[in-house]
Amino acid sequence: MFSQINPRARGLLAALALLLLILPWIANNYVLSVAVLILYFAYTGQAWNVMMGFCGQLSLGHSLYVGIGGYSAAALFVHFGIGPWGGALVAVAASMLVGAIIGFLAFRFGIGGVYFALLTIAFAEFTRLGFDHWQWLGASGGFFLPVKQREFNDLLNLRGSPVMFYYVMLALATAALAFCTWLLRTRIGYYWLAIREDQQAAQALGINTFRCKMIAVLISSGMTSLAGVFFAFYYNNLFPEQIFNMGRSIEIILGPIIGGIGTLFGPILGAALLALLADGITELMAQIGIELPGIKQVFYGSCLLLVTMFLPNGVWPALARRLGLVSAPGPDPAGNTVRHPDG
């Protein structure tokens, strides 16, 4: 299992880590901003994956937690002068509370599958409507953080250069990966997989499915809201129409779907592939002189289509096997991912 992480995979991981660490020295600001975006989606994908990939609960409304996280921390900063790290605590708590309400409603009353997904969308949409009219937070006109040129990076208040933001996001994404790796080795991790595979069988083995699903929602929503805090301080502006948008939720889940749902490296690989390819395409189109609005969406759609058709388990499991990163345990005619496809 985890002892099976082979030297080759370890070497590759070390090389990647090194590259990411020195990236600000070798990359320009544009590349760095793309890297921040990739890490951002790697992180949110990882958070979403806890609910869907591990526990089998499909959320299509994760922008809700990004928004609540962003607005909580921004409001505390602007109105009360509380820094983002303190604000993050409130943001996480607020998102977890909302997640708990959704989870409770759904799991107590046996709402699952598509209906659960619809519920998550509904909550995100209603919250957006609420924020659209909340004057204290700028309503639909947007909420802005003060921006000032500074000479020093102020890590405590998350005010500073792109390089600082890059490292913050890198730390978050790395922490999320480590956290999820750890989660899968704990009892609750095993229980989630059991619930994902077959809820009734899980229950027959003494698993309190309600409690386990609630914990998944709490962890996922809490993690996601940290991304919101980052978002607020990185972009310095928040619009309900944008941040709670369903399109944002879809962007979050594209990475893990393309990379491989339920895997640890899938969300990271998926985020990277999408960002790099999407960027490449828009760049290419610009070079040729064609400007097509919505080309990115079309591109996302095509990626999704191709992956679901040819690699239903995502790119990562296939790639890992191809590169010999996992010690394959045996034949797998059903094409199912064995637990821990990350080796």
């Binding site: 009892r187 095993y190 059991a194 083995l205 499915t209 064995v338």
Partner: protein
């Protein structure tokens, strides 16, 4: 005499108009192996599902180790000490065989290493240890039945409910499975209630047989008595004639 481990008193369950189980009562002593037989559609699985907490009985009472257990959730019933298999097997298809069993073991052994050790032993007992790293989806039906048993055993039940786990096994395989249950019963005093159509296994294992027909208990007693009971013969023959 000591209190029975499981006591079912006049339980009933209907699905819309259909009386799946009507007023069935019986008791199982700790350490006994008891069979529940009856033609297809007799209500055997429904009875299991009531004991296991999947359905709440419409009427009656279920007592386990002196406690009323009806109305508890399936997971609470498992924790109380009743393990069950599913007639239509439900492996965690995407997980390895070992992990399937580890998940069962984690209830009583929260530490992963310990749960893995126990799961490994159980797989060995059931003769599927060499398949531990395969995805459960790749198993053949007989192996899935064994996995079903392994997973239930991993929860360390005091009472094990087996729903047709011998179906589809060859006679030699049946005999091996029978031997496993005998051993467990002898070594740990495990109490077993098994639903089974394979009479070879029923006769070899059970100390007592209950016969269900159209949701009603039509005979109970020692195996050789029950199989000579005219009512029992008739319900099986009637089934064949139909």
């Amino acid at each position: 005499m000591a209190e029975p481990l499981l006591e079912v008193v006049a339980i009933a369950k209907r699905f819309r108009g259909l009386k799946a189980v009507s007023s069935v009562s019986f008791a199982i002593e700790a350490g006994h192996i008891v069979a529940l037989i009856g033609p297809n559609g007799a209500g055997k699985t429904t009875l299991f599902n009531m004991i296991a907490g999947v359905y709440a009985p419409d009427a009656g009472e279920i007592r386990f180790a002196g406690q009323r257990i009806q109305g508890l959730r399936p997971d609470e019933i498992c924790v109380a000490g009743i393990g069950r298999t599913f007639q239509l097997v439900r492996p965690f298809a995407g997980l390895s065989v070992l992990d399937n069993v580890v998940i069962g073991a984690l209830r009583r052994s929260p530490r992963i290493a310990e749960a893995r050790r126990k799961a490994g032993l159980i797989l060995e007992r059931l003769g599927i240890a060499e398949k531990r790293d395969l995805p459960a989806a790749s198993l053949t039906l007989p192996d899935r039945k064994r996995l079903e048993v392994a997973r239930a055993l991993a929860t360390e039940p005091r009472l094990l409910l087996l729903d047709e786990v011998m179906a589809g096994l060859r006679p030699t395989e049946t005999d091996r499975m029978v031997e496993v249950f005998r051993e467990l019963n002898r070594e740990t005093g495990l109490t077993i209630l098994l639903i089974e159509h394979v009479m070879r296994a029923v006769m070899a294992l059970s100390r007592e047989i209950h016969v269900l027909h159209h949701g009603e208990l039509i005979a109970s007693g020692a195996p050789d008595e029950v199989v000579r009971n005219p009512a029992v013969l008739e319900c099986y023959l009637g089934e064949d004639a139909a």
